[in-house]
Symmetry: C3
Subunit: 269 residues, 3 copies
């Protein structure tokens, strides 16, 4: 149970060290992402103004970027912050919300990734695959076929091309650094009926990576496993979205070793 | 029970078709409106940047505009989006939050309505009546007298002048297209103690109109009836605001035909 | 029990008069601050656009400024609104979120305080002390030593220098106008695991000050005592953050004289 031990260890470290997670995220989820990070044990800060992002990143254990309600000045702040994070060597987690849906969003992600190094790219299948290079796309990946063999191949190649972890949320999640591949089976369908659940996972991935001391692939898999497991457990309390969300955040706060042992569905494949 | 059948049919269609509702709304309610739309069964997207609103609207089943924390660039985006929605023929729902309170807000609504066609204008009595033309105002409407005969006349004339549905929330709601008039008696006083309840109704009206195939007047009445009924039912769980809100969103998710039958207070008058 | 009578009286006045509280606050807490103010009985409005802040302040009983996600144009709006509030003689409550952490934030607070009169400055110890003048700082205040004798002296001198109430949240809170000093012992540790709890207290302080008719020092102490007590009571329902927050807002709504009597920990020292 290597993945289990890794998850418990990282979770404990988050709770002990309470890393500052610098978020430049969208208006919809600022509140929920902050509460999710606090529940897990991290210290969230939201700061988007170009005049302060470099300074704020200098205190942080990880930088989380999310383009959900992107506009030009925020994009420039994300780039400045990402470059500052790169020069300090802290992880940068990027959530390409809506990439592929509008040119603004697709281009924003590409601009961030062209001007800085991203550590983890976390999105759903269509968002992530919309960012694949032409080389990958010409192989005929169908983004509606979540987790097909072609998707896995595309994700692996994207990881190699960008030197980052690719993390795709779905019924079963996929995490790969181009070499290792993990699948995570935790999580509950009602999570899709609560806004910001995916964005919250991106933030929590930031917290796990902040204390990972290097291996971000297993840290990302651990974040996915833990987050999904808390969803599984919360769904035992309620499967209706609003009361589920309350139970879920409570679970992110209260779930520890005992509830984790034997329940993570993280598989190396 | 024509209104009942219409409500159940539209609700089922929302849940089957999951229409994308494009919201350009205020900072206060972005999260709650998204959760409310998800609970009802629609797919919310929040996107305000002028560079993408036209593209985003092109995927949407309805456009919801809300001036709650308006600023100049957002107003311009609303106008661009409304014009795109008009050219595609999808419904545009406008919530004139705070119209009448400041010139900025009153003027913003007037600018939107002068440069595009609004399908439904939903607000409280003073907000809506602050937008009445001078012709209507000189008849001496007193906006503090909610739902007086003079209010109904003013609302009907506003509907005709603007070619839209006028929907006024109050103890008893008023929906009119200038000819037909509906009153809706569902809803609970504690809803006024939860921020974004009115804005959430505007968003849900968008979802009902997105699947209405034409008749937006009955779709608006259906949205009001359903939303208010879920409030009635949630208040049986709790009449305190925060726990009420949780029960309310859960109810928006779980309420179907069985709970609706015999409980809607929608009257054609 | 002077403080108790004062708290109950102000609370009753908020519920009777429902003062409009004009907030220019950060994106993270807009929703929660609005719900907190509604629960207490006040009428919140969020409006940040420079074109309307002066007009909006003219209707308000208090102005609440919060620099949590500050950017240049919002700062200018805060200054315009604060000056409008000053000329009308209504209280201005300022929350210096993150002051001391970045130059942008420290400078923003200093610019607001240099260009207008603040009635109450409410923050945590390090935020508030980061704003102390060089005269005070050279005395060697250690902001990590919350509520040390040196902190109390610094707070008193800051109150005198700025002609305002200094209100510092901590395990035990400190409120001083330079002469009188109050300590408040209500409140529960889980409050620190819910985002916006401090910002919500700043907003509630605005509501208490809006009906205080002059003595803002005791009004601030009353706000702290009431808010902390509702936290104490809510923690009896749940000590996990999300369900705590629901219970807390419900308590802010339902707590009255009976639950208050004998439970406030407000001490004049």
């Amino acid at each position: 149970m290597e993945a289990e031990a890794r998850t418990i260890d990282l979770l404990n470290q988050i709770r002990e060290r309470s890393p500052l997670i610098h978020n430049i995220t969208n208006f919809v989820v600022m509140n929920s992402s902050a509460n999710i990070l606090l529940a897990v044990g991290a210290s969230p800060v939201m700061a988007h103004c170009q005049a302060e992002v470099e300074e704020m990143t200098s205190f942080a254990g990880a930088l989380v970027l999310n383009i959900g309600t992107i506009q030009e000045d925020w994009l420039q702040s994300m780039i400045v912050a990402a470059q500052a994070a790169n020069s300090r060597g802290i992880p940068v987690i990027l959530d390409p919300v809506g990439a592929g849906a509008t040119r603004l969003r697709t281009d924003a992600v590409k601009e961030i990734m062209a001007s800085s190094s991203i550590s983890v790219l976390r999105g759903n299948c269509s968002e992530v695959l919309s960012l694949a290079s032409d080389v990958i796309k010409t192989r005929g990946v169908d983004s509606s076929l979540a987790m097909s063999a072609a998707t896995v191949d595309a994700a692996k190649q994207m990881a190699v091309e960008n030197g980052c972890v690719i993390a795709i949320s779905g019924e079963e999640d996929l995490i790969t650094d181009g070499e290792r591949v993990y699948r995570v089976g935790n999580g509950h369908p009602v999570m899709a009926r609560v806004t910001g659940t995916g964005c919250g996972l991106t933030a929590v991935t930031g917290a796990f990576c902040a204390v990972a001391d290097g291996d971000l692939t297993t840290a990302t898999a651990a974040a996915f496993g833990y987050y999904g497991l808390c969803g599984d457990l919360a769904a035992e309390t309620s499967d209706k979205p609003a009361s589920f969300q309350i139970a879920f955040i409570d679970r992110l706060y209260s779930t520890g070793r005992q509830a984790i042992e034997g329940r993570l569905k993280i598989k190396a494949v």
